[in-house]
Amino acid sequence: MKSLRFGVAMVLAASLSGYAHAETVKVGIIAPFSGPFAHYGKLFKDGAESYLATQGGKFGGHDIQIVYRDSGGPNPGGVKTAAQELIVNDKVDYLGGLVFTPNAMAVAPLVQQSKTPTVIFNAATSAITPKSDYFVRTSYTLWQDTVPLANWAHKKGLTKVVTAVMDYAPGVDAEKAFASAFAKVGGTVVESIRMPLNTNDFSPYAQRIKSSGAQGVFVFLPGGPPNLGFVNAYNQNGLREAGIEFLGTSETDEFDLQKFGDAALGLITAFHYSGAHDSDANRAFAAAMKKQAPDALLNYASVGAYDGMHIIQKMVEATGGKKDGAKAIAAIKGYAWESPRGPAKIDPNTRHITQNVYLRKVERGADGQLINKEIENFGPQGDHGLE
């Protein structure tokens, strides 16, 4: 607490002394660069730096310097310290990154006190953005993607659905989002299955879903092994043959997609970004990423960072490179632009991104790679979790 007070005092002193002569604008990015989630760090870095490169390394005539801090996994204490160091020692003008909800929550008081505009590239819980007036989010929320999916499922004639989610906070959030939206349109969730995080064998759950008589299964799984395990169980236990519709959101994310092989073909998901989105903005994003690194991957995390830097650019331009949190945030409220994911806008009330959500189906693209082919556009969606 003492160090926090000291930190805040330092920040105040720093902001009083003024940034009028600051030539270089500093952006601190907090992300995992080590441990099991290190791939997020690379996705953020590629996304952020590729955007910066498209602008010649300058926003509004000011040189941009990115300072990275490793957060490891969900680590609120460590992230709070990292944010404090960035704000106080490195004197960053903007913060970005943040993969996990607890980490974003932990920096909220610091961001609020120091008036540092902070762009969240990923952390996807609805409750985050109200925690500070200086939070802006360029990712998505679980509700944003799930609610249109539930509506579509009902429109398609599904009345009985099982939810099968991983038993952790985002999974439970997704389960609630689906159940409430599906009930609103008159559907029934016949069974809600919560699967422990360290589940290896998904066959029993697949059997339960099969014998429940449901017409579809809404799933929420973290990336990686559980994704593959569940999809294999879905196929191998005959759920696909029985015509039980797979309803997912981020399950077929580009990071895991190629690893599924044919098992993923035909899976239905609703999500806000597909690497295969057909637009000039997305092709420009793909070209920038390829230039940045040959193995750079287009997915929700890298596009979150890419768009996040675009937002920071707008804020830098609006403030003339000076640190003025209130003015910066005011400048991007209601700001609309063409993102690689489609038309996007920062909602003036929630400071969360309003974007199209698409229904996608996994197919093989022209080059034989698996892609998420967008087959229906649900139109602009706000954060349904705050409604």
């Binding site: 099991p36 290190a38 064998d201 339960r208 191998q236 043959e241």
Partner: protein, 286 residues
């Protein structure tokens, strides 16, 4: 009734997977009295090699599997000869610290060489589908794992009980000074047993990959599971490990069908109960 048969079928099959990934650990920990927490690292080495051989080099599934096992055994033999042998005489704590450190080293190396991605081992077409037994559909791959698990039981029993090597092994574990004076080459026996345990780990890594996908954190993620099976089964007891794996597999599966809200509660409750009743292993009265 359908519920019960489902639980038994899925439980036995899951249990066989648990057996296949843990039995190698039972061999090194039980027969060699060496606390080998690097077991998962060898399983991962086998899995990654198999994935590379089959996917990138185009080997057929079983040829790739055999080569991956052989290569892992060779790697383990070299490591044993230069590094691990020095640990046999050390305390258990030192063995634990070294092998867990080795595991971290392995995780970092694999992350660096192959990336954070999951490695898929492509299955031949005839293993990809499912088999329908009445009302039940079972993945073919899972049936193969169960069959190979039984093969491993038979092989180990023959090796330990019926061969000269088995006699040497048991003799050198029980009294190494006496065995040595009787002309048994203890170094060779130790090295071969260690490599054999690593080979079993590699087999488990490949066959278990459908349920426990290969990624850099594999050796730590599934270590607890392996240790539970080996501890409940009794160190060095192949039949005990089999019984423990099947029992825990069935308990875990039953709780998924009947009480999934409890998470892994019943799995660990079963472990505590079995260890309290039979601290030396499920099949040992003592």
């Amino acid at each position: 009734m359908l519920q019960l048969s489902n639980i038994l079928i899925d439980g036995v099959v899951y249990g066989m997977v648990l057996f296949v990934i843990s039995v190698g650990l039972s061999v090194t920990m039980g027969l060699m009295r060496f606390i080998n927490l690097a077991h998962g690292a060898f399983a991962m080495a086998g899995g990654y090699l198999a994935a590379w051989l089959i996917r990138e080099q185009g080997f057929p599934f079983f040829a790739g599997l055999a080569l991956a096992i052989a290569a892992t055994m060779a790697l383990a033999a070299v490591l044993e000869a230069f590094v691990f042998r020095r640990l046999y005489a050390r305390t258990e704590l030192q063995q634990v610290l070294f092998t867990i450190g080795f595991t971290f080293f392995f995780i970092a190396s694999v992350n660096f060489l192959a990336g954070a991605y999951i490695q898929q081992i492509p299955l031949p077409a005839w293993l990809q589908g499912s088999i329908t037994l009445g009302a039940r559909t079972l993945p073919t791959q899972r049936v193969l794992v169960a069959a190979m698990g039984l093969g491993v039981v038979l092989l180990l029993w023959l090796l330990i009980v019926r061969t000269r090597f088995g006699i040497w092994l048991r003799a050198s574990v029980d009294n190494s000074a006496m065995s040595s004076s009787l002309g048994i080459n203890i170094r060779l026996v130790q090295c071969a047993t260690f490599a054999f345990g690593a080979g079993l780990a590699a087999l488990g890594g490949v066959l278990g990959a459908e349920l426990m996908p290969l990624e850099p954190y594999y050796p730590l993620k599934y270590l607890v599971l392996m240790l539970v099976v080996v501890a409940v089964g009794g160190l060095g007891s192949v039949s005990g490990t089999l019984c423990a794996a099947l029992l825990l597999g069935i308990v875990d599966t039953a709780s998924k069908y009947l009480a999934s809200g409890f998470g892994n509660f019943f799995f660990y409750a079963a472990m505590i109960l079995l260890l309290a009743l039979r601290p030396h292993g499920i099949l040992r009265r003592r």
